[in-house]
């Protein structure tokens, strides 16, 4: 029984932290800071997934946790960091909606997801219930971030934190098959998005995406 309580508490703590980190993303107005907070987001997700793998005795989930850790907490932030440096947009401050309204909206969304999910899952076991409610909060906060930001990089970060919420939901649903495949599919999607921004932002800066501009770019890096 003690172990049952402990496993519940830790899972609860980690899922709750993910929501908290989502809130922290909302008020970042510098891209570097936002990127660091996102890396933290992915780190918390990896810990949460690993904990689920442990308590559910589902070794394949460790793979999902590793993907979250290596790909989302290290590789993607590093790649985006490079893009930000290359494009010289690290000083940009951008918020479409002010911090105050964004936070208030965020709180409203979290309240909404609690009301919706806790009510409809009254019969499910408490862990899955709370996980799902937290996951929906993270998804909605990610969406909020995507609509309140104008910059392509921060939109992608919003999408990735939305996706972290989905992985949280999928791992919280005990015994769900294909979780690893789905997280791989999402990683591929994100990799494409990051490449996409790279091309997109180059166009904005040089007003062309022809191969020459890209070649010039590559030359600079080497």
């Amino acid at each position: 029984m003690l172990r049952g309580n402990l496993s519940f508490d830790v899972a609860h703590l980690l899922a709750g932290s993910l929501v908290l980190v989502s809130f922290m993303q909302l008020y970042q107005d510098r891209l570097y800071a936002l990127l660091n907070i996102f890396a933290l987001h992915a780190l918390v997700l990896a810990a949460s997934v690993a904990w689920q793998a442990f308590i559910q005795d589902a070794p394949h989930l460790y793979l999902t946790a590793t993907i979250a850790l290596v790909f989302k907490a290290i590789v993607i932030p590093a790649a985006l960091h490079r893009i930000i440096v290359r494009l010289g947009i690290h000083r940009e401050i951008e918020t479409v909606v002010g911090v105050g309204p964004a936070m208030l909206l965020g709180m409203g969304l979290v309240a909404l997801s609690m009301v919706v999910m806790l009510r409809v899952t009254a019969d499910a076991d408490p862990l899955a219930r709370e996980d799902l409610a937290f996951a929906l909060s993270v998804v909605l906060l990610g969406l909020l971030m995507m609509v309140t930001r104008r910059n392509a990089v921060s939109q992608v970060i919003g999408f990735m934190s939305l996706e972290n919420g989905l992985v949280l939901a999928a791992t919280g649903a005990k015994g769900m098959p294909l979780v690893v495949e789905i997280s791989v599919a999402f990683s591929v999607l994100i990799a494409f998005i990051v490449i996409g921004i790279f091309l997109f932002r180059i166009r904005e800066r040089f007003d062309t995406v022809d191969v020459q501009a890209l070649d010039r770019f590559r030359g600079e890096r080497q």
């Binding site: 919706v116 999910m117 009510r119 409809v120 899952t121 009254a122 019969d123 499910a124 899955a128 799902l132 996951a135 929906l136 998804v139 969406l143 995507m146 392509a152 939109q155 999408f159 939305l162 996706e163 989905l166 939901a169 999928a170 649903a173 005990k174 015994g175 769900m176 098959p177 294909l178 495949e181 789905i182 599919a185 591929v188 999607l189 494409f192 998005i193 996409g196 091309l199 997109f200 166009r203 007003d207 995406v209 022809d210």
Partner: protein, 478 residues
């Protein structure tokens, strides 16, 4: 054991790998045609020998219709694509590397759509639709102009959010199924879900369906989630516009229909019909008005696709044997007609060197075959008798009038507004004195007229076997 079911997946997958390696666009274009033809023949054989369904793949009467339609339009589009891409290569808009990439992506898209249709697992279906989204995004951005990249980006972001919401809905369906079926793969398998759906937690299913409707509805192009659709259609290569309108929207709709069947079996769940009816009506009327202010010819027909998807979703939302039959027929007719129109539009844009409606005029004089082909296509899509879309629209409206007269009035209003918008533009595009530059049309007219011939025939006579098949599927849909 390789049966026809594996065939519709393996042929495009192998072709994609092969086309990615082979140089020379003439040969790859031909190979592309051969591969899609083989896929079509394999798909047609599903009607003769029905392979056994497993826990990952499934063939039943419902998806057979979709598979055959998908592979057929996939085949004719590849024929059109061969001449279209040839012209693009000659005019220098595409480099050989991109042409090779394009053909590999075309087959990958065929693979992804077939996989989504035969998937017996809701997780696998989701992965397939995601793959289809990715490939189309890459193809929409293939010209790498400012507008093309922006369209691809918009499609990417909206499409990703859509499939993310759909995944959340999928997870919720699993959560609803788990207490009844138990943990593991079985709780995501269609054939199992459908037998136990009555005992699922209705509250969870309701929330799941809302997410699925928003998620897959984005991919169907329902207003107000349609924002990606016109841009993606207008800026990508025209064969892709044809495939997007004719097939990919259907595939997303298919996913939605499957989940609708699931909800319909649960007595405690909300009726999914009214939600679909509302979104369908909004899409139809909204898109009909949007037709009037369009300056780009491909964008105009993209809005017409939104309008027709609205009608189809409306028909399936109404439900019942007759409305489902009408919806199914309308979907088939729309796929055939809209891709025929895009075949015409693709060559028109190449002949005129522009997609701007203001610069295109008098086509029936300058390029009679293309011009009259377009006229015929627009007459069909606007729903004039005796063509196929008239039949299906008539069935949708008459079945609605019997049950909800007011909804039918709104629908008729939308259809008439759209008809006005289409003919207003058609007048300047097709008739009068020729305007703008005219190059020689190096076109393949066969796919366009083949589609139009089918649509024309279906308006007058439908084979009893086809009617019986559609009626059977309509009954399945409930």
């Amino acid at each position: 054991m390789i049966d026809a079911l594996a065939g519709v997946l393996l042929i495009p997958a192998a072709a994609a790998a092969l086309l990615a390696l082979l140089p020379g666009y003439r040969m790859t274009a031909r190979l592309n045609v051969v591969a899609t033809l083989l896929t079509l023949l394999t798909a047609a054989s599903l009607f003769v020998v029905e392979p056994t369904s497993g826990s990952y793949l499934l063939v039943d009467d419902l998806n057979k219709v979709f598979i055959v339609l998908t592979t057929f339009v996939g085949f004719t589009t590849s024929v059109f694509s061969a001449s279209y891409i040839g012209h693009e290569m000659e005019s220098g808009r595409l480099t050989p590397t991109f042409a090779r990439f394009y053909h590999a992506m075309y087959q990958t898209l065929m693979f992804a759509m077939n996989l989504a249709l035969v998937a017996n697992n809701i997780g696998l279906m989701w992965v397939a639709i995601e793959l289809a989204t990715l490939t189309t995004v890459l193809m929409v951005g293939i010209y790498r102009t400012h507008e093309a990249l922006e369209a691809a980006w918009k499609y990417f972001i909206l499409g990703s959010v859509g499939i993310a919401l759909a995944l959340f809905g999928t997870i919720l369906v699993y959560m609803a199924a788990r207490p009844v079926i138990g943990e593991g793969v079985a709780a995501m398998v269609w054939t199992v879900l459908i037998t136990k759906a009555a005992r699922f937690d209705p509250a969870l299913l309701n929330v799941a369906f809302v997410f699925l409707l928003l998620g897959y509805g984005t991919k169907v192009g329902l207003a107000p989630l349609h924002a990606w659709l016109p841009d993606a259609h207008a800026e990508g290569p025209t064969p892709i516009s044809a495939v997007l309108s004719g097939l990919l929207l259907n595939v997303a709709l298919y996913a939605l229909l499957r989940f609708k069947m699931l909800l319909a079996l649960n007595p405690g769940a909300i009726a999914p019909g009214p939600l679909m009816v509302t979104m369908g009506l909004i899409s139809c009327v909204f898109a009909a008005f949007m037709l009037y202010r369009r300056r780009d010819i491909k964008r105009m027909f993209a809005y017409s696709s939104i309008e027709h998807m609205g009608i189809i979703v409306f028909a399936f939302g109404m439900g019942g044997a007759l409305a489902n039959f009408a919806g199914l027929l309308h979907m088939t007719m729309h796929s055939l007609t809209k891709s025929a129109i895009f075949f015409a539009v693709g060559h028109i844009a190449q002949v005129k060197g522009t997609q701007k409606i203001a610069d295109i005029g008098g086509l029936t004089v300058s390029n009679p075959v293309l011009g009259w082909g377009l006229v015929l296509g627009v007459v069909a899509i606007a729903g004039l008798p005796p063509l196929g879309i008239f039949t299906s629209e008539f069935l949708v409206i008459s079945s609605t009038f019997a049950r909800e007269p007011w909804l039918a009035v709104i629908l008729v209003f939308g259809i008439l507004v759209a008809l006005g918008g289409l003919f207003l533009r058609l007048g300047t595009i097709a008739f009068g004195a020729p305007r703008g530059p005219t190059a020689k049309a190096d076109a393949s007219y066969v796919p366009m007229f083949a589609h139009l011939a089918i649509v024309f025939t279906a308006g007058i006579y439908m084979p009893p076997a086809l009617v019986a098949g559609f009626q059977n599927v309509a009954k399945l849909l409930g």
